[in-house]
């Protein structure tokens, strides 16, 4: 059903009152749609997808479900409502009023933060654009598309901030966000993890469980920002991000469930027999977990970082759940423990808490990932199968920070180059593993049917049944 909304760009920021901004965004809109057409989900233009659309930010309006064609999805600009008298809660400006405009001295830093966050949104859509061709079910296909359109909306959210607060520079950045391409040699996306391929659904589920969770932690720390429009934008994005984490966590849980079912049927944990039966053996899942966990860990940056300290003291980026932490919110005299590599031993040392904020956010994220992994571990336990997924050591397979030049095993032992070369394919997916997973990726599009390697979900979307027609192909 098409609703004749009164404005071309749905929003709750009184866009029509700022004609210059409205015109700039309406000028950007066709370029965005062209980008979606070129780089969005492959061949999906005419599908009717059962999508959740935010039509307002109050509880009644922001989860509106209906079948829509993705190019008609209401990409718009939604910020959580402004709080009167809101104060800055941390850093040197603690207690002052939050900013509605960008202070000149922080302009370039804030712009860089927003562009970096904004760049990840279209990047993941590009990374995932071919997955629709190998969807294990209509339910999963719909979830993929929901994630994609919301990443598109998050791009809108960031571009709005760039247009509204950074003038010509912001408009140019907005165009550049549509010009970079994930994995492109000449014009790649900004962060390495977003130039990797997402070649199969197992990678997609791991990505949404682990890498989108990095998004959650970055957004949560920006939701504390003294720059109020950024804080309000990120707060609303977090609500949407939760669905992406759910897609990942429940996706992997269903893969584990299915593997355990077949292990029980065949009474075996033999990799070859399980692969012959068309399911993904648990040790291979562990390898994928190791890979995605380690490359995502790099996104948090250096363990000790003066930039992180500056972001905090100047009020640009807070900690996760800043206001719930019981301390002075200035951290001038506090310390924080970070890992240390000394010669051939791994240890820890205390450093000033301000410079360790990247590490702190990484630790918050690790605790959250661990909680999800603990929930996965209940599945084999339920089947009486003796297998536990574990997170690798922080230093395993890292390319940024103090572990860059050393090799660390998943259980935290320093390794020689020779040992690493000899052993690393026990811990990371080999070409053979990836080829096997790839071989399972057939398209399964009959409502209520699921590919053999994944179990159905325990409930449908929006109380719809599992066999509901979540996507119509017309």
């Amino acid at each position: 059903m098409s609703i004749n909304y009164s404005e071309r760009i749905p929003n709750n920021v009184n866009l029509s009152e700022n004609k210059t901004l409205q015109r700039a965004l309406e000028h950007w809109q066709p370029a965005f749609l062209q980008w979606w057409d070129d780089m969005g989900p492959d061949g999906s233009t005419n599908y009717d997808v059962y999508l959740r659309t935010a039509i307002s930010v109050d509880p009644t309006g922001w989860a509106h479900f209906e079948h829509v064609k993705m190019p008609d999805y209401r990409w718009g600009i939604f910020l959580t409502p402004q709080e009167a008298g809101k104060k800055i809660t941390f850093g040197d400006h603690k207690g002052e009023d939050v900013w509605q405009e960008v202070p000149g001295e922080y302009r370039s830093t804030l712009r860089r933060i927003i562009v970096t966050q904004g760049d990840t949104e279209p990047a993941s859509v590009e990374q995932q654009r071919h997955l629709g061709l190998t969807a294990p079910s209509l339910y999963d296909l719909r979830n993929l598309f929901q994630v994609n359109v919301e990443e598109g909306r998050h791009l809108w959210a960031m571009v709005y901030l760039l247009h509204a607060h950074f003038g010509r520079d912001g408009r140019e950045e907005g165009e550049a966000l549509l010009e970079r391409r994930s994995g492109d040699e000449d014009n790649p996306r900004i962060l390495t993890a977003f130039n990797e391929k997402t070649p199969d659904w197992l990678s997609f589920f791991m990505f949404t469980f682990i890498t989108d969770r990095d998004g959650k932690y970055q957004l949560a720390s920006l939701a504390e920002s003294a720059f109020d429009p950024l804080a309000r934008t990120c707060k609303f994005m977090l609500t949407e991000e939760a669905h992406h984490l759910f897609v990942g966590e429940s996706g992997i849980a269903r893969v584990i469930q299915r593997t355990c079912e077949v292990m029980q049927q065949l009474k075996t944990d033999d990799k070859a027999k399980l692969r012959a039966a068309g399911v993904i053996d648990l040790p291979t899942l562990q390898k994928y977990l190791n890979f995605h966990f380690s490359v995502t860990s790099d996104l948090y940056g250096n363990e000790v970082s003066s930039n992180a300290a500056t972001y905090y003291t100047t009020g640009l980026k807070g900690r996760f759940e800043e206001t719930k932490i019981d301390d002075d919110h200035k951290l001038q005299n506090a310390e924080y423990e970070v890992p240390e590599v000394a010669g051939d031993t791994l240890g820890t040392r205390k450093v000033g808490a301000l410079s360790a904020l990247n590490e702190r956010l990484r630790d918050d994220w690790i605790a959250d990932v661990q909680a999800g992994v603990d929930r996965w571990n209940r599945i084999p336990a339920k089947f009486g199968i003796d297998f536990k997924f574990t997170l690798p050591h922080k230093g395993f397979h890292r390319a940024i920070g103090m572990f860059t030049d050393v090799h660390v095993s998943p259980d935290g032992r320093m390794l020689s180059e020779a040992e690493w070369t000899h052993q690393h394919l026990n811990w990371l997916p080999s070409d053979e593993d990836r080829l096997y997973v790839h071989s399972l990726m057939g398209r399964c599009l009959e409502p209520g049917k699921f590919a053999n390697w994944i179990a159905p979900p325990s409930r449908g979307i929006n109380n719809q049944p599992v066999n509901f027609e979540y996507v119509r192909f017309n």
């Binding site: 909304y5 509880p59 009644t60 409930r459």
Partner: protein, 416 residues
Amino acid sequence: MNAPAEHANIARQHLIDPEICIRCNTCEEICPVDAITHDNLNYVVKFDVCNGCLACISPCPTGAIDSWRNVEKAVPYTLEEQFTWDVLPDTRELDQFEAGIVSGPAGETPAEVQQITDVATAGHGGPALAPWSASHPYINLYGPTNPVTATVTGNYRLTDADASSDIHHVVLDFGSTPFPVLEGQSIGIIPPGVDEKGKPHLLRMYSVASPREGERPHHNNLSLTVKRVTEDHEGKPARGVASSYVCDLKKGDKVQVTGPYGSTFLMPNNPGSSIMMICTGTGSAPMRAMTERRRRRMELKEGGDLILFFGARSPGELPYFGPLQKLPKDFIDINFAFSRVPGEPKMYVQDRIRERADKVFAMLMDDNAYIYICGLKGMEAGVVEAFRDICRARGADWDTLRPQLLAKGRFHIETY
């Protein structure tokens, strides 16, 4: 079987399914009364704080938040218990409470009625109040343990013979048993017999479609607008037990009725008050009741505008289409929206609301105008969005206005 006396005081406890929840914090963030909290393991709901507003339900990405158990009011699941759960507790005998089993002493709202009402009124985003000039309603006079027996005195099909929906107008007479109702209230009907598990059927709720003085003035009767359910929410063929029972009733049949229910979705009585009615399908029942009340008092010239937005697939699917067309234009301003008329563009109630933006806005701003929405849950968001846009285009803010409407008892939603 009779319920033990200690089960007489039952409440519906809101819980979170720890097996599905991904601990994303969305519910805690969104809860307007801070009823949700968490530790390292679980997200939990404070029984004594949660007011069942359901603001947390739709934003939950997993559906874990939509979990409920019957408990004795005095002994709900504590936070400490909820923190230790890996899975939800199994349902207990309390959860099996069916119509016919005590679910509170007479005068208490049965749990299923409370639950249906909670869901139906979730769209308010806050507790609703009746208009200041509404008449005082009687509620819960008859419960599942002491239903009143009514006699069917009429049953007419309202939709065309070739229409896809089978909607009936059913008249029930209460003889000499008092059964006072007001426009906007509902009654409960208990289908006879037992379900496939051998348990008595649950009661179903139906809105009254006739005004307070009866379908026929000065008769102790009332009418209902009932659609025969032929498919479930997934569109699969399914036979609605209660709706089939009611639609197939013959003149002279006896029916077990409970109620009345509902103390806020009531019409204003002060002269000059205006009413905006927005409905689809059988959501027209309370609108017919209010319209009929006003029609019978037309000669009193009490003033006040009536405006109706009524959505259906086609004229033949629209209950009371004929009678509505006969009403004088200066008595009621009727706006039909048909979504499946061959050769015509699809129209929905929100499209008509937008067409009448000036009048709608004037009524939103008029403290003496009352707004009623009744029908399928799906219509709610579109209608609210239309209000929002209409307000914005005229320099007002719906989010500011809505709490004011609620506080003045001017905004009423019943959707299912």
